[in-house]
Point group: C2
Chain length 338, copies 2
DNA sequence: CTGTTAGCGCTTTCAA
DNA sequence: TTGAAAGCGCTAACAG
């Protein structure tokens, strides 16, 4: 059995109350008393029981993080976000309760699971665009931060990269290399980021007044396979393309494989640029040019927001997007002279 | 405020006690009463407060997972283990509290952090061989499962892949392809798995009576850079090598890059086989032959063991290792005819 | 400055 | 079969 406040009280000769106040830094305790109590606490190796504290104070010091749809998602991405959340939480003396794909199986909603566990706010990732949970959380009034999915409740907000910016950076990069016929392989449209990346792509095309057909866009699903398929279809239908912007690194690996199979040299014949900057982007050959998302920072921001909301009843953090960065590697190069 | 057992009692007309027993499935409650209470509970959307439950019952339904040394480790590996732990925990109705690299910063030990939070057992990963925490946990008597590090307390055990088997599989594979001069690039020796992989390598060499020099072994540190360095040194000093077994996929990417730089064709001139089978192993070119660890299962096993220990005061799961699997891809091939 | 009392939401004797 | 009372470990009025 762990030592309780009672033990400290007994041994120090003070009441439980006084011990509590001394330990919690109240100033209505004489310095002498505090010192003695601190001393005893140290001797006894006493640490307050957080769940008892939580029960009585109703002050929350636990975050809940829900990771839905782990499989279809890109794992390294998730892990970096989680790392950011954990680190920021630890810094703020918050614990992190992790809920997996199967946690909602019972039909319980995230805020119910949280309330039941003394968790003050929820970070949710891996949601699809029209998941009913979004509305549930909007209306629940429970502090919620979504990752990569918009939400607009009184106590709900979201964090995401500036995906439009990312697309623009990709297009600009390609245009700077002389490309004018640029294809786009997108992820599935159940992901909000896909919508944004598409907008960015179109914006880029317009801004540079590039030649344009709707056949330049292939609708993938974030899988490597869909990258391969997209590459083949795009190049077969539009042999004039000299560059392809791919909405995820994983799909981009598929694209590169397929193009290579089709006899194209990368980047000599065709430039390929991805999105995310996952770890392997720098390990594959050719190394992959891509748009980096700061995933760790995404986690940090999510944690900051949820913690701010928990600490302040009436605070709803304003929305802002994280900047993406162009990472230029080997898979993109100057357009071939025709 | 969430609905409490009190609300259910009031609305149903029964006492708190009876409600508690009805909900917890005690059989000294008439069926009629139970039905009514269940009904009211449903109407009120009542779910018991787990932290209050925990406080009074001292029955633990939370696992603590500590991830130390995140950076030097391989993130996708960790994430899969965590996924396994989460899924198994959820299945058993356990919650998972995640502690990051900085959580022990305060000087608190894992079991103290856990006790303080009503956490019944700890899974720890990312520990180095001689970390004092190992002994602390051995002696603490707190249910503990380490990942990839041996421990032998009364309430402490560990899970790991059979790394010796993995090495043997790698060597056998190479020998089957006709290789006899096989180099080895290991991880740093602060990792127990490195010791094991080394043993397996030596065993393999012996079993097949292969020609052998201590110069065939390079001591890396799991980083890609060390893979590159190792490849260069190994091939410079031992040009007779036709294959290299590398103790991690990440290092293997470095090896392949460096060998390619040096003008070797893979696998025509030299075969390379990694360890882990991380995601990118199948995305790089050439695709990487490797020894797969079932990381997800590692997580499942860790969770099972810790849960079994929590549920049973006197149970210490016996130790066993998870089988590894040879994954043969493009980076290994028959030895070149000389 | 310190202690008494009450109570967070729940389970568990013990009586009725 | 049900309920009253005590208590898990802690904090928070409220007196003194």
């Amino acid at each position: 059995m762990a030592t309780t406040i009672r033990d400290v009280a007994k041994k120090s000769g003070y009441s439980i109350t006084t011990v509590s106040r001394a330990l919690n830094g109240y100033d209505d305790v004489s310095e002498e008393t505090r010192e003695k109590i601190l001393q005893v606490a140290k001797e006894l190796n006493y640490y307050p029981n957080r769940i008892a504290q939580n029960l009585v104070t109703k002050r929350f010091n636990t975050l809940g993080m829900f990771i839905l749809e782990r499989m279809t998602f890109q794992q390294p991405f998730i892990f970096e976000v989680v790392s950011g959340v954990v680190d920021e939480a630890t810094k703020e003396d918050f614990d992190l309760l992790l809920f997996g794909t199967q946690s909602l199986r019972s039909g319980m909603k995230p805020h119910q699971m949280c309330t039941q566990r003394g968790v003050g706010g929820a970070i949710i990732m891996g949601l699809r665009l029209h998941d009913p949970i979004i509305q549930v959380m909007e209306e629940s009034g429970f502090p919620t931060v979504l990752i990569d999915i918009p939400i607009k409740g009184k106590r709900a907000t979201f964090v995401a990269s500036d995906n439009q910016l990312g697309s623009l950076q990709a297009i600009n990069h390609l245009v700077n290399l002389g490309h004018r016929h640029i294809g786009f392989i997108n992820g599935h449209l159940e992901a909000w980021v896909s919508l944004e990346r598409l907008k960015g792509y179109k914006k880029g095309i317009e801004e540079h007044s590039l030649p344009w057909k709707s056949e330049y866009i292939f609708q993938g699903d974030f899988s490597k396979e869909s990258g391969k398929k997209g590459a083949r279809i795009l190049m077969t239908q539009n042999p004039e393309l000299t560059a392809i912007f791919v909405a995820s690194d994983l799909m981009a690996t598929g694209v590169i494989e397929e193009l290579t199979l089709m006899g194209y040299k990368i980047p000599d014949d065709i430039s390929v640029i991805g999105f995310d900057d996952l770890d392997f982007a720098s390990h594959i050959k050719p190394t992959l040019s891509t748009i980096r998302q700061d995933k760790y920072q995404l986690g940090i921001e999510a944690a900051r927001k949820i913690i701010a909301m928990i600490k302040n009843e009436n605070y709803l953090p304003e929305q802002h997007f994280l900047k993406t960065t162009l990472i230029s590697r080997e898979s993109t190069g100057p357009v071939r002279i025709e």
